[in-house]
Assembly symmetry: C2
Homo-oligomer: 327 residues x 2
């Protein structure tokens, strides 16, 4: 059997089984690990790798954006736990014949992202590689221990919502792969420069009515299934309510893409996916809009068992292939 046949979730389960830890530590299985800190705070820690040819196409992504994205994808995990990003440790392998101007631009983007999210880069290991670029960041954040949200806390009847549009980054990747020239800028920006917002994560985590939370990195369908598996629940998603940006609608119409497929499986959205007590939802939705000026998009609700997709209330069956970095 080959490694790729495992799939990412299967490998994570293998790790979680072999590396069990006891409370108050939280190990493998959420967006971050949790380590008790001082004064009611905990460390939330994540690590995310980006590999050339798998997560990015080196000839397509500007090196500054790749540096920025290396930080952003980790900030998104910290945000998903309700944490504030703090300290980063960077490891990279660069091909020995890579132009140093490329590395300098990459580091410039990395620094820009660190400054934006007030992350201090405290350490690193940078080595040569034979051929490909490998990037890894480990990021420590700090969270109020009693506020941290996990994937297993979804409850029957919860409203499911996201903090941002879905599918734009997937659309950006399609623009690249299909070499499209029109209406590409905002989709490419979503793909190259994700903008997670820890402030929204911290605020949402502080609301008692928010139950489960994670970031959308592998596509709504894949990530929602993770919440459902952890919480042992099902869900109904109303596809007509999925937040799809005007740019993605326009590009989908022009290039005959299926916007629903991109919204559900495109991946790399780096917004938050959460489930909220239905009695608290309206208040939290209003408070969120008032505080951040952007909506919480209601897309469905938690049910007893299976994940079902609806269109205007009618069940539909979808046959999309999920994105898996293993395959």
């Amino acid at each position: 059997m080959q490694f790729k046949e495992w799939g990412e979730d299967c490998f994570v389960q293998h790790l979680a089984k072999h590396f069990k830890v006891k409370k108050p530590l939280i190990g493998i299985g959420d967006d971050c690990a949790v380590i008790p800190g001082q004064k009611g705070k905990s460390w939330v820690v994540t690590t995310d790798a980006l590999v050339e040819g798998v997560h990015f196409l080196k000839e397509e992504i500007p090196p500054e954006d790749l540096g920025y994205k290396t930080v952003a994808v980790n900030v998104s995990d910290i945000a998903a736990m309700g944490g504030e990003p703090k300290y980063a440790f960077f490891a990279a392998a660069f091909p020995k014949d890579l132009e140093d101007s490329w590395v300098k631009k990459f580091m410039h983007g990395l620094r820009e992202a660190c400054q934006k999210w007030r992350v201090l880069l405290l350490g690193g290991d940078t080595v040569g590689s034979k051929r490909d670029v490998f990037l890894n960041l480990a990021l420590m954040g700090e969270a109020n221990s009693t506020h941290i949200k996990y994937r297993h806390q979804a409850k029957h009847g919860d409203i499911i919502c996201t903090t941002g549009f879905l599918g734009d980054s997937g659309g950006g990747l399609k623009v690249l792969l299909e070499k499209r020239s029109k209406g590409r800028d905002s989709l490419l920006k979503a793909h190259f420069r994700p903008e997670p917002c820890p402030a929204t994560g911290i605020w949402l985590a502080s609301q008692e009515g928010v139950h489960a939370m994670m970031d959308v990195s592998d596509g709504l369908d894949c990530d929602l299934r993770r919440i459902l598996a952890s919480s042992k629940k099902g869900a109904e998603i109303e596809t007509s309510k999925l937040p799809i940006s005007p740019s993605l609608w326009a590009a989908s119409s022009r290039y005959h893409w299926d916007p629903l497929e991109l919204a559900l499986t495109g991946g790399e959205d780096y917004c938050l996916l959460l489930t909220v007590d239905s009695n608290a939802f309206q208040k939290i939705q209003r408070g969120f809009k008032k505080k951040f000026g952007t909506p919480l998009f209601e897309i469905g609700s938690i049910t007893g068992s299976r994940l079902e997709y609806l269109n205007e209330g009618q069940r539909i069956s979808l046959h999309y292939k999920n994105f898996d970095h293993f395959k």
Copy 2:
């Protein structure tokens, strides 16, 4: 200009310049970063990457040993700061067509090392790669804040010593590259399964007389120069006192290797290199021997400026090429 022309130290200096941090935080430039913790403790954090074809030959190293080594090289950094290893975050990219039996054996070695050093693996990111294996571990340790030792603390007149033999791992690599069959086992073991000892680091760090400390990962010559550059000092090393194992002597004699070159530039020794107040040295040396049953090997002393090599007290000039993972 190509990336490889920078060299590792130059790149680290570039990072340190652009990512400065303020006390009590300690950032780039030592074996670990330091983050203040609670009750007089600090977090010491390191990250080390291993890349196929650069740090290891996948067809040569047994996967169990590679998993073990991935943990060991990071434990060595924690030991060098006087810390106890605690929490690990593992990131890896495996080629998609890699046999899963290889991955299982690798994870077995990783788990064995975690158990040995009581490290809890709390998180990870495992992805596919196009071709090569890329491994990274970020490791958090805990140290007594007032005991932590740095590279910049060497003082004029200090005795320089190591906690272990030098060159065995470099000899192991030579055994592989030259396809040698005799007298290879202990050298290969040193190369495949480094055995850093955090207990020695913690004890040495608790001694006031110990000034500068780091681990020997890139070869004594290279790493000593780092202490000297940080401390703005020089050193005299008596080459006849360098601790060279009987196995390395025997293999060098059999295969016409230069044991001095291997001891100085072989790299991956993963023992500790430290400088000790000359007035305190004898007591510390006796205490060390009593506690751990192994010697502290005295190899020279800190002087005013340049690094000089002696043989039986006479200056000699050496022209070895240092090992650099960049090149």
